[in-house]
């Protein structure tokens, strides 16, 4: 049954199977944590539920420092406490960089589109981008910090160098994949080059471009985290790196799960938006 290609698990089996590893993972974690705490009640490597709760309360409801706490916070609502919390401040700092990086992917899509549509444009850029794509972004991190300093620009440039070549080349390939008949058809319907490029080709490849960006979200976050861990005063990765020095696993673990949740939500939003914006698109 397990290796039958035509197996059709019923709803309950499918649900059980899909949650099994989550539940097992959580159970294994608390089993190990419990055993370690029996040997050493102060163990910080695998925090207990109580330690995690304390860590989460500190991260989700308390500001980074006592000085950062506004007046009367003790009696404020949970919502207000969350909005002044360390986690929220770090999330906003990372989100700002993330949004900038995503915005910088728009020119990458436009460049890939033009490279695919206009042969002279393509000839000019393709070889260079292919080479650029092979550069390991993290290897140029020191150069970026020297060239741009340790401010925001260096971190955003790291993401740009890490992700944009992939998006440019993906868009280029998707553009090239549009059947020639569609382009010819466009001309026979009175369209000029830019109309064919934007009204026919871009519209057809857009859902796949969005999928490509979605699949690269993790890479964006990877470079964002690298930048923040090495040179930053705020942000989710900065906090994780800082807490590592103090063995603050009870905060690091909720932070890691929070980042995963945020990324999952961004991915889900993009998937839903893609479906709404392109109702004609059927994913392979």
């Amino acid at each position: 049954m397990l290796f039958r290609i035509d197996a059709k698990p019923n709803r309950l089996t499918a649900l059980t199977l899909s949650w099994f590893l989550f539940v097992s993972g959580i159970a294994l974690y608390f089993y190990t944590s419990h055993n370690r705490h029996l040997e050493n009640p102060e163990d910080k490597v695998i925090p207990s539920l109580q330690q995690l709760t304390t860590g989460m309360t500190d991260a989700f409801l308390k500001p980074d420092t006592e000085e950062a706490a506004p007046e009367g916070l003790e009696n404020a609502s949970l919502g207000r406490k969350f909005l002044t919390s360390m986690l929220w401040t770090d999330t906003l700092a990372s989100a700002k960089r993330f949004v900038w990086s995503m915005l910088l992917l728009i020119p990458a899509v436009v460049l890939g589109l033009h490279m695919g549509m206009f042969p002279i444009f393509g000839q000019f850029f393709l070889r260079f981008i292919l080479f650029f794509d092979k550069i390991i972004a993290l290897s140029v991190l020191p150069i970026l910090f020297i060239a741009f300093g340790i401010d925001e620009l260096a971190k955003i440039m790291l993401i740009v160098i890490g992700v944009t070549p992939t998006i440019i080349l993906d868009t280029f390939n998707l553009t090239k994949g549009v059947p020639q008949e569609q382009i010819v058809k466009g001309f026979t319907l009175g369209a000029q080059d830019f109309v064919v490029t934007y009204s026919i080709v871009l519209k057809q490849i857009m859902p796949r471009v969005l999928n490509s960006i979605r699949l690269n979200l993790k890479a964006v976050m990877l470079f964002l985290f690298a930048g923040e861990m090495i040179a930053s005063q705020d942000g989710l990765a900065f906090r994780i790196a800082l807490l590592r020095r103090h063995m603050g696993m009870n905060v690091i673990i909720p932070y890691v799960l929070w980042v995963a949740l945020l990324l999952f939500l961004v991915d889900l939003t993009m998937r839903v938006a893609n479906k709404k914006l392109h109702p004609w698109f059927r994913e392979a």
Binding site: V184, T188, L189, H278
Partner: protein, 267 residues
């Protein structure tokens, strides 16, 4: 009738392989030319040359006396596959041409666009009706339509531009026999109604005979040689009955196999 398409001494070579050589053909305005031939004989290449989507290695293609460098709104095109824009509804596919021609890429922001769009949509509904489609199909996407319906929309999309020439490349090859037969009748009716010059490429001899007011057959004398015009004949109206199509298919089949062409209608 004036000459609308002239192919003069056309040669096409792909990576040292000659597909067409010394090809001369003149098509007069209002003719329905059905070009037939086996796979690889260069009939689609010939269509793409006329369309302006390809350039000949030698010779020249004149459309209404001029060499045109690329496809334009005067030459409508219905290919076998990818004939519609998948991201646009049936209505948007049909109105795409007139809207684009009048408003371009950013002209849609101009005042008056909405009013004109409504006029184009009204025209599109007329074409849909004429093609035997329902108004309720207007908001469907191409992949929600059958192959025959897609080709009907593709023809409407091309005809709304009122092209001088309509070029159809194996447009019905992927359709089932029943739908194919319906489409053939529809296309012949449209040709008579519009007076547009039609050029229809097919590998199916009966289809070419049924459709064309003139049938051109491309073929090779040997597998190594390039294609040339083997048969070029005009067909009168009475040649399009079922019996005559069958008889002419046999005659043309023999002629392309090397026998003498005995065609009573041409005399």
């Amino acid at each position: 009738m004036k000459d609308i398409i002239r192919l003069e001494n056309i040669g096409v070579t792909y990576s040292n392989k000659k597909v067409l050589e010394h090809l001369d053909l003149t098509i007069r305005e209002g003719e329905f030319v059905a070009v037939c031939g086996q796979t690889g004989c260069g009939k689609s290449t010939m269509l793409r040359l006329i369309l302006g989507a390809e350039k000949p290695t030698t010779g020249r293609v004149l459309i209404d006396g001029r060499e045109l460098p690329r496809p334009d709104r005067h030459r409508g095109y219905v290919p076998q596959k990818y004939s519609l824009f998948p991201d646009k509804t049936v209505l948007d596919n049909i109105t795409f041409g007139p809207e684009t021609e009048e408003f371009g890429l950013i002209g849609r922001l101009k005042p008056g666009f909405r009013r004109r769009r409504k006029e184009f949509q009204a025209q599109a509904y007329e074409y849909l009706k004429h093609m035997g489609l329902q108004a309720s199909d207007a908001h469907k996407y191409p992949d929600e339509l059958s192959g025959g319906m897609q080709q009907r929309v593709a023809i409407a999309q091309a005809l709304i531009m009122k092209p001088q020439i309509l070029l159809m490349d194996e447009a019905f090859s992927a359709l089932d026999p029943g739908t194919r037969s319906e489409m053939q009748k529809l296309v012949r009716t449209l040709w008579k109604e519009t007076g547009t010059t039609f050029l229809f490429v097919t590998h199916n001899i009966p289809e070419a005979i049924f459709l064309g007011s003139r049938v051109v057959i491309l073929g090779k004398d040997s597998p190594e040689s390039s294609s040339k015009v083997q048969v070029d004949m005009e067909l009168p109206e009475e040649a399009h009955s079922r019996e005559e199509v069958e008889r002419l298919t046999r005659v043309i089949g023999n002629a392309t196999a090397g026998a003498k062409l005995e065609l009573t209608y041409a005399e």
